[in-house]
C-alpha cells in the first residue's frame, strides 16, 4: 500500500490502472494511454500531480538562500507570481533535482520539486538553509492538478468563480496567481497550453468532478511521459541525475552566469567543466524505419568506424513510440561531434535515426 493523493478515489471511480510510483499509488492510465495522449494534444486532459513536493521558503534571507541554492538566479524574479525553472546542484555540479520556483515576495517563495526525490531534496534544502535566516517547510495542504491541452484553459476557466476568472485574465506563460484558495500557474509538462493548479486537499475531489463534467479527460502517468518526451522535456532520473552535469543535459540555459559575483552551489565545478570542454550533449532522435527506441539503447555515431570507441558511442536516455508522429522518437546523450544521422542498436540490429533538436511536438504541431 503506497501513499495516496487527495484524488485517489477519483482515480478509482474513473477505473484507473493504479501503479506504484516512488511509493505513491498513482494512475498509469484509465483505459488507453494513447487516447489520453491525443486528448491533451487535441482538447484537454488532467493529471494528478499531487505527489510532487511543495516547499515553502520564507524569511528575510529567502532570496539570498535561493540565489546560493539554485543554478538559476531568483533575482530575475521581481513580479509576484513569476516562475523560474532551475536545477539544484551538488558541489560536483551534478543535478540533485530540477524544480520550479514561484516568486511571491523577496522573503516568500514557493518551490515545487519532484516526488521521487522528496526526501533527499528536503534534507538538502534544510541543510543549506541552516546557514540562512529562512524556514524551509514541506506544505502538504494542497492537491495539485495539471490541466493541459489547447482547450484546457477555457475549460478550466468555466468552472472557476467569478473572482478567480478575473484573476486569471491576462495571466502570462510561466506566471501564477493566487485567488480564493487556488494557486493557478500557467506551467506544464506536455508542450501544450494549460494550467498547473494547487487546490486545498479538501476541495480536490469536487474540483476534479467539475472538470470531468466539463469534458476534461483524466490522464495517467503513461501519457504524461509520452507527452513530455514529444515536447523534449527532461525527466529527472532519465535525462539527468546527481552524476550528470546540466551542461550535458540541455540545461545550460538554466545556469545564470551573470552577475559574475554571485556564488551558487556547483558553480566552481561547472566552470571547471567549461574550461576542460563539455564532451556530450542531449539530442533528439527520430527513427527512420519501424520499431521502437527504448531508454539505455546504444547510439553509434558512425557504424563504419570503431563501434567500441567512446567518441563514437552515445546512450538513449528516454525513448518511445510518438503517438503524434507515429514514429519512434528518443532523447539521447551523445558525443558533441554527432552529425545529422546516426544508428541505434535496437534488439541486436542497427537502425538509422535522424538527429534533431530534442523537441518533437509543440502546441499540437510536429517540429520534425
Amino acid at each position: 500500500m503506497g501513499q495516496k493523493t487527495p484524488f485517489y478515489q477519483c482515480h478509482l471511480d474513473a477505473e484507473a490502472k493504479i501503479v506504484d510510483f516512488g511509493g505513491w499509488d498513482m494512475p498509469l492510465h484509465y483505459g488507453s494511454q494513447m487516447e489520453e495522449h491525443h486528448a491533451v494534444r487535441q482538447d484537454a486532459g488532467m493529471f494528478d500531480v499531487s505527489h510532487m513536493t511543495l516547499v515553502e521558503v520564507k524569511g528575510i534571507e529567502a532570496k539570498n538562500y535561493l540565489r546560493y541554492l539554485l543554478a538559476n538566479d531568483v533575482d530575475k524574479l521581481t513580479e509576484k507570481g513569476k516562475a523560474l525553472y532551475s536545477g539544484m546542484l551538488n558541489e560536483q555540479g551534478g543535478v540533485i533535482d530540477d524544480l520550479i520556483v514561484y516568486y511571491l515576495s523577496d522573503n516568500d517563495y514557493r518551490v515545487v520539486v519532484n516526488a521521487s526525490t522528496r526526501d533527499k531534496d528536503l534534507a538538502w534544502m534544510q541543510k543549506i538553509g541552516s546557514n540562512f535566516k529562512v524556514s524551509v517547510s514541506h506544505n502538504t495542504d494542497y492537491a495539485m492538478l495539471a490541466v493541459q491541452g489547447p482547450n484546457a484553459i477555457s475549460k478550466t476557466n468555466q468552472i472557476l468563480s467569478q473572482v478567480q476568472q478575473q484573476a486569471v485574465v491576462g495571466l502570462g506563460v510561466f506566471f501564477a496567481v493566487e485567488s480564493e484558495g487556488l494557486f493557478i500557474a500557467r506551467t506544464g509538462y506536455t508542450g501544450e497550453q494549460g494550467y498547473e493548479i494547487m487546490v486545498p486537499a479538501a476541495q480536490a475531489a469536487e474540483f476534479w468532478h467539475q472538470l470531468l463534467k466539463n469534458h476534461v479527460r483524466p490522464c495517467g502517468l503513461g501519457s504524461r511521459d509520452t507527452l513530455r518526451l514529444e515536447a523534449g522535456m527532461n525527466l529527472y532520473g532519465n535525462e539527468m541525475d546527481e552524476n550528470t552535469s546540466p551542461l550535458e543535459a540541455n540545461m545550460a540555459w538554466t545556469i545564470a552566469w551573470q552577475p559574475a559575483e554571485r556564488d551558487f552551489i556547483g558553480k566552481s565545478a561547472l566552470l571547471q567543466q567549461k574550461e576542460q570542454g563539455v564532451k556530450q550533449k542531449l539530442v533528439g532522435l527520430v527513427l527512420q524505419g519501424r520499431g521502437v527506441i527504448r531508454s539505455h539503447m546504444k547510439v553509434i555515431l558512425d557504424a563504419d568506424t570503431d563501434q567500441q570507441n567512446a567518441d563514437n558511442i552515445g546512450e538513449v536516455t528516454s525513448g518511445t513510440m510518438s503517438p503524434t508522429l507515429k514514429q519512434s522518437i528518443a532523447i539521447a546523450r551523445v558525443p558533441k561531434s554527432i552529425g545529422e544521422k546516426a544508428m541505434v542498436e535496437i534488439r541486436g540490429k542497427l537502425a538509422e535515426v535522424k538527429v534533431v533538436k530534442p523537441s518533437f511536438v509543440r502546441n499540437g504541431q510536429a517540429l520534425v
Binding site: Q33, M34, R290, R294, M321, P323, S328
Partner: protein, 128 residues
C-alpha cells in the same frame, strides 16, 4: 476480468492457439496479455515460410510500456502473417482473438499440441 475463450489452447507466455480444420494453427496473444501490455504500438511479425522450433523467439510486440517476445508455441512452418497489424497494431488491443491474430503455422510435430494448456488451466495460471 480477462476473456479466455474455451475453444482455444494456450501457453503460459499468454499466447492462444486455434487448431484449424486443415491441420494448421492460428496464433495470437490473449486478452490478459494485451491488458498487461497496454496500447500496442508496433509488431514485428515472423517471415512467411520460415521454419521455427518450439519456444523460438519469432515475433515482438511493442506496447507503450515495453517490448515483449512472442515464442513459437509449436515447431513448424510459418504459412501466413496478419499484415493488417503492420499499420494498425492496436487491433491486438481491441480484438485479440479475432482480427488481432498474428500468424498461422503448419505444425511439424503434432505431438507438441498435447503440451498446450486448455482454457481452464490457462485461467488458473492467470488467476494466481
Amino acid at each position: 476480468m480477462s476473456n479466455v475463450p474455451s475453444d482455444l489452447k494456450y501457453i503460459s507466455s499468454h499466447e492462444w492457439i486455434r487448431e484449424e480444420d486443415d491441420g494448421s494453427v492460428t496464433i495470437g496473444i490473449t486478452d490478459h496479455a494485451q491488458e498487461l501490455l497496454g496500447d500496442v504500438v508496433f509488431i514485428e511479425l515472423p517471415d512467411i515460410d520460415s521454419e521455427v522450433a518450439l519456444e523460438d523467439e519469432i515475433a515482438v510486440v511493442e506496447s507503450v510500456k515495453a517490448a515483449s517476445d512472442i515464442y513459437a508455441p509449436l515447431s513448424g512452418t510459418i504459412i501466413a502473417v496478419n499484415e493488417d497489424l503492420v499499420d494498425t497494431p492496436e487491433i491486438v488491443n481491441s480484438s485479440p482473438y479475432d482480427d488481432g491474430w498474428m500468424f498461422k503455422m503448419q505444425p511439424s510435430e503434432p505431438s507438441e499440441l498435447e503440451g498446450l494448456l486448455d482454457a481452464e488451466s490457462y485461467q488458473n495460471e492467470i488467476d494466481d
